[in-house]
Amino acid sequence: MLQTPSRRHAVVSETRHLLFTVTPGAAWIIVFLVLPSIYLMAVAFMTNGPYGLPQLPLSLNSFEQLAGVGFLGWSPGNLYTLLRSLWQTVVATGLVVLVAYPIAYYITTCRARWRPIMLLLVVVPSWTNQVIRTFGWMNLLAPGTPLSNLAEMMGLISPNMGLYPSNFAVTLGLVYNFLPFMVLPLYAAFEKLDTAQVEAAQDLYAKPVRAFWHAVFPQTLPGLLAGVVLVAIPAFGMYVIPELLGGGKAMMLGNLVATQFSGGSNWPLGAAGAILMLIATFIGLFAMRRIGKRLGGGEEVVI
């Protein structure tokens, strides 16, 4: 088909327009995401050099080390770190849900005028640097502080140990840090809650608890799943909080990776750890998607 000059001109300008709009974003993604990822994967399959820098030949050494195989045979250290990361993620996410659910509901019951202010109160702390807030918790939980003394009096910790550093302090730090990421999507879900469904459930002989379970919970599920994704994935890779609140005994996968790139000086091992995190995250997302589908709804939130 013969194209008229004006038509050809239109096609050219459209192409150019597309190029101008897409290129910057695409370049950004390629330079800062795709290339580093490829590099990271390549590094993971290299051998560790004398100064911690990767060298050829290619090998699976780093993955063997990650699995715990060293000079002295197998040790469970890294496996413990992985399990600790998973455990902390699950516990912290669960606690965040338990705390955020009533908060989100409570905010929707407030007068319309107060709601933005309440939401602001939830979000404002996260405007401060995470490290500074974590330092705050160190001061609150250190040995000799009122909270630690109280826990000691109740026999929860041994004398002079303090609540920090410990796994408990890490969990607390994670819950505190990620609370807004759960409250906001849950609030959005509560905001558009169809109360007629709740009334229908009551009308159809559902006692309050069952009415909640059958009419309220399914409606908030998309928000809940979105919140779980927003909390669990960053929590799994968290570095700052376990570093500061955990001491040496509460290391998580993020710390393991970070150590290899700094003090530990083993880039291939660090890269292998990062890939493990990535895989675990994808498995988590896939599982969430399945759960969301099974329970109905939520598919639109979970990628």
Partner: protein, 376 residues
């Protein structure tokens, strides 16, 4: 003749209702006394409602939006708490009973189906919550799904269905529980006119067959008249009139009810003596039964009772008017007239007679028996 049929019909219905209430557990009378409800500081939803609804009756709460009819329905369901007053259903005091313990089910205006559940699970919900055994539950659900002609769709999720199908599921979901009273909150308002008319008839038939007490809320007076055994007209949280559709339409208790039932021809009575009244139209003779002492209130002329031109019997009131507008509505013809500068509407059945033209002077005949005095 019509009168007689109507009486027989009502008596018949009442008898059917009585037998039903004796035979089935699925019919209860409702008694409301002094029900009050206020929202916030000055929004009075119900200002003391006394109402008796008979077992097995199709009872309609009719009124404009904000008149309190939905609040009253929600108090019956237990979804709203009355500030004051008493409520018994089937002779049992239920005022403090939570909704899940009342043998009352509601068809919600928005249907309020559970979107994450299949049609089957929606239908089974009430039975499941009540703890009926699975076998019994499945049998009843299959039965009701067949009944509403949605048998093949029971595995679908409800968000895949049309408005009419959802409406039937909402109805079936409530009916399958076999409640003593079924509450319907404008269940037909979201449907198109054709489907609505069809469902009005179906609902009424269904109610007669089941003998269940239906309390129906609507703002549509035609719908109310077609379906109901009795109607309560509400305004500003007060019951204005309770009666059969015929009583409410032909003898409205006051000007509000008359206007709400669609009457335009209301004329202020300026003076009255014996069975004569003076209105803007002139002096008119009434039936002696309509005689009142005070010259207050309004005179109601139903547009279909006017005789235009032709042979007007001698004992009729005669008026002269001008045709201002003619609206051809197919089965009937509506004339907008002026009499002594007062607008008057007349409706004539379309029997193929000669139509009056705009600008024509016509003689209007009013039968004294068709003139009704209405309180202010």
């Amino acid at each position: 003749m019509t009168d007689l049929t109507n009486t027989v019909n009502t008596a018949d219905r009442a008898e059917v209702a009585d037998t039903a209430s004796r035979d089935r557990r699925g019919a209860s009378s409702i008694r409301m006394q002094g029900l009050r409800k206020q929202f916030g500081r000055d929004a009075i939803a119900l200002a003391g409602v006394d109402l008796d609804i008979k077992a097995g009756e199709f009872f309609t709460l009719l009124g404009p939006s904000g008149c309190g009819k939905t609040t009253l329905l929600r108090i019956l369901a237990g979804l709203e708490e009355a500030d004051d007053g008493q409520l018994t259903i089937g002779g049992k005091d239920v005022i403090d009973m939570p909704p899940h313990r009342r043998s009352v089910n509601t068809v919600f205006q928005s249907y309020a189906l559970f979107p994450h559940l299949s049609v089957r699970d929606n239908l089974a919900f009430g039975l499941r919550m009540r703890g009926e055994p699975a076998a019994e539950r499945n049998r009843k659900v299959a039965e009701v799904a067949e009944f509403i002609k949605l048998g093949p769709l029971v595995e679908r999720r409800v968000d895949q269905l049309s408005g009419g199908q959802k409406q039937r599921i909402a109805l079936a979901r409530a009916l399958v529980c076999e409640p003593d009273v079924l509450l319907l909150d404008e269940p037909l308002s979201a449907l198109d006119a054709g489907l609505r008319g069809q469902l009005q008839v179906e609902l009424q038939r269904l109610q007669k067959r089941l003998g269940m007490t239906f309390v129906f809320v609507t703002h549509d007076q035609d719908e109310a008249m077609v379906m109901s055994d009795r109607i309560a007209v509400l305004d500003s949280g007060i019951i204005q009139q309770v009666g059969t559709p015929r009583e409410v339409y032909e003898h409205p208790a006051n000007a509000f009810v008359a206007r709400f039932m669609g009457h335009d021809n209301l004329f202020a009575i300026t003076a009255s003596e014996d069975n004569w009244v003076d209105t803007g139209l002139g002096r008119l003779q009434l039936d002696p039964a309509e005689q009142r002492d005070a010259p207050d209130g309004w005179l109601l002329i139903r547009p279909e009772t006017l005789e235009l031109g032709g042979n007007i019997p001698a004992d009729y009131n005669r008026l002269e008017g001008t045709v201002e507008e003619r609206l051809y509505r197919g089965s009937r013809i509506e004339y907008r007239l002026t009499v002594n500068d007062h607008p008057l509407t007349a409706v004539a059945g379309n029997l193929g007679q000669r139509m009056h033209d705009v600008g024509d002077r016509v003689t209007i005949g009013l039968c004294p028996e068709d003139l009704v005095r209405v309180a202010a």
